[in-house]
């Protein structure tokens, strides 16, 4: 497969495979949170910290509420259509309504340090790990 290595799409394919294989991850094991609620969440580790990426197309920033407490992060909001009246539908596939999801992360986080960014319909939560939870180098004396 030497040829496909240089293909620019290989990087995306590798990412897709990595995302698939962590679908069966037991990272949340033991916590009350589980799969299946809206919105779907992808959680990544970046250096010592964590990043949650959530696709929320069509949700107005003002209709999005994010709360963090302890190691709980609560995401709630509404997604409402902004269609004119008196139109006739050819196709309806998008879903609308409200959501309220709590995810408990199985690590110690610094809830005050969480940063949120919403761009192009994607919400990114930067979740810093608690200082006392970060790995420390042990000095040999």
């Amino acid at each position: 497969m030497a040829l496909s290595r240089i293909h620019p799409f290989q990087a995306l394919f590798d990412l897709q495979r990595a995302l698939d294989s962590s679908r069966s991850s037991d990272w949340l094991r033991g916590s009350t949170a589980a799969r299946g609620s809206f919105p779907p969440i992808n959680m990544f580790q970046k250096d010592d910290d964590f990043v949650a990426i959530i696709e929320l197309p069509g949700v107005n920033k003002a209709d999005l509420d994010i709360q963090a407490k302890g190691n709980y992060i609560r995401l709630s909001g509404t997604k409402s259509p902004s269609y004119p009246e008196n139109v006739s539908a050819h196709r309806r596939e998008r879903v609308f309504g409200s959501f309220d999801r709590t995810i408990s992360v199985p690590i110690k986080i610094n809830p005050d340090g969480i940063k949120a960014e919403y761009r192009d319909g994607v919400l990114a939560l930067f979740i810093p790990r608690a200082e006392e939870d970060k790995p420390r180098k042990v000095q040999l004396s």
Binding site: S4, H7, F9, Q10, A11, L12, F13, L15, Q16, L19, D20, S21, S22, R23, S25, W27, L28, R35, G36, S37, F38, P39, P40, I41, N42, M43, F44, Q45, K46, D47, F50, V51, E55, L56, P57, G58, V59, N60, K79, P81, Y83, P84, N86, V87, S88, A89, H90, R91, R92, E93, R94, V95, F96, G97, S98, F99, Y118, D120, G121, V122
Partner: protein, 132 residues
């Protein structure tokens, strides 16, 4: 809570096998609403993660083709630890049966939602049919 419509997870749908065989990556079908008003056809499509520059909209003959690419370089240095959905580019085509005034088509991308307004050509606007 009972009276509120609660959102359910909509599994992302992949493009059927055999259509994109040259590329070793998966494409997804964006959930789409299409509605018609008296003077225009509007196509609304969810493409989270796609920026204006990486959105392509073509109308050739009666085929409307939409392609949106995500920038996966954002994921560099990120190790997935727990995932519930996959990411990929988006692609979808429709046969537009109405005659469209091509010069007045407008496209807008906001919060990951593409809205295409395809104004109907003058001769295609509805006229009431009188029953004698």
């Amino acid at each position: 809570m009972a009276s509120k419509q609660e959102l359910q997870v909509q599994e992302k749908q992949e493009i059927a096998e055999g259509k994109e065989t040259t590329i070793p990556a998966r494409y997804f079908v964006p959930p789409t609403d299409i509605f018609e008003a008296e003077d225009a056809l509007t196509v609304v499509m969810e493409v989270p993660g796609v920026t204006k520059d990486s959105m392509t909209v073509d109308l050739e003959n009666d085929q409307l083709r939409i392609e949106g690419k995500i920038d996966y370089s954002n994921y560099e240095g990120m190790e997935p630890v727990y995932t519930e959905y996959n990411v990929g580019h988006y692609q979808r085509s429709f046969s537009i049966s109405n005659k469209i005034d091509r010069d007045r088509i407008s496209a807008d991308l906001a919060d990951g939602v593409l809205t295409l307004v395809l104004p109907k050509a003058e001769e295609m606007k509805p006229h009431k049919i009188k029953v004698n």
